[in-house]
Amino acid sequence: MNASLNAWSDALSELHLLGLPVGLVVIAAVPLVFIALYALTYGVYGERKISAFMQDRLGPMEVGKWGILQTLADILKLLQKEDIVNKSADKFLFVIGPGILFVGAFLAFAVLPFGPAFIGADLNVGLFYAIGIVALEVVGILAAGWGSNNKWALYGAIRSVAQIVSYEIPAAIAILCGTMMAGTLSMQQFNLLQQGEYGFLHFFLFQNPIAWLPFLIYFIASLAETNRAPFDIPEAESELVAGYFTEYTGMKFAVIFLAEYGSMFMVSAILSIVFLGGWNSPLPNIGPLSLNDWTTGPVWGAFWIVMKGFFFIFVQMWLRWTLPRLRVDQLMHLCWKVLTPFAFVAFVLIAVWEIYVK
């Protein structure tokens, strides 16, 4: 197992065509294609269908069978739209904003292991990098909000940034709890440590009696970091039109949404890697039925991590259509007076468990 770790990405990075490192480009392109495909299918179409079913509606039904082609039609429409830049907008920041935003969301995918055989870069500070690179997204949001020269956009940007910066603290402490259990920051090491024949019993969530606390804290904080409901006050339709992307149309709007869907998958993937075994199969070996061995391998690994990510995205969507939006003061109250103290408690309890009990 260990010998084949990162086998595909290593092989790709050695691949040269005509003296050019084509393999490196392919490695960078894989997450990009993945984000585009998943945002197109599951992200947009899935969210519309799921929200429709939760509200006892049908959702998109016109284009293709069950409206499957609806998203393609929407993309074609977005591509044809005129690229509008407001007269009074700050042209440079307005144009560069969505770009910075998407780069920030996409850079984190460099350390995301798509299965045991594929990872962009197996950094020994991978997890730290993944939660730190979000900082770039924050600057992109500010650039977009300020550049639009619009009250709603600036308000949305400032709310969004205040929220992301505040919720980074409980999120980082919760991740630190997972790091204490693993004793590493490398994404692939996290996965390897949670490998075993009993499947899900080896996951960190079930290895420690307090692990559910940082798991929940990180999930709640990650909702706020990706501006998802019930923390979507930065784009609150009823107060701010659409928040920091009020003025954006056409492809720029599509890029902003691609970035949002990208970071939604990224936080879900981090959650599943740190607490739920990443690309490891959750099925246990039961006697002669060696389910775990059958469902382990490079392709199965990619399947499991994508499925775990999709599951948490489903929960995010589910919450969006269930819970009402929080007010700004409730948001800050939850972050500083509830999540942060509980994160510290979880930190101390897990440290005690790791040192004295285990």
């Binding site: 020994n124 730290f128 690179i133 300020w146």
Partner: protein, 174 residues
Amino acid sequence: MTDITYTVIFYLFAAITVFSAAFVVFSKNIVYSAFSLLFTFFGVAALYVFLSADFIAVTQVIVYVGGILVLLLFGVMFTNKIMMTELKTDVLNIVPGVLLLVAITGGLIYTFLARADWFTSDNRLQGSVVERIGFETMSRYVLPFEMISILLLLALIGAAFLARFDKPRKMNEK
């Protein structure tokens, strides 16, 4: 990757750092200066990676981009009439300025070339430095570490105290 690729990438990041830093100083628009600082910080982080200090590089991104730059942008954006303020980026006092520049640059180059005792380590840095940073902070440097944390806590309490909504005085003023 070959050495030539490394060299090209290194000079690319060095150029990004230097040019964006120059833009920060020479730009007449303070918002652009603040956004340009983003590229300076990223360039410096990339240069840390070339020094095999990946932990420091990521910390640089988190602290400078995620913390200081965002705070700076907030300050700039919340300040009214910031676009109207005339920024002075003219060259004033040329003679003392050039003298100071030559003196500082000369001193730095002299220190780099003559005084500094550069040496190449016999054993290359192996594996992860994160564990070693942790061990060193918690053993040899635990006192400075704790002192800094107390200083930061004091700054935090002071900031909260200054920003606190002062109820009785507000009432009196009305």
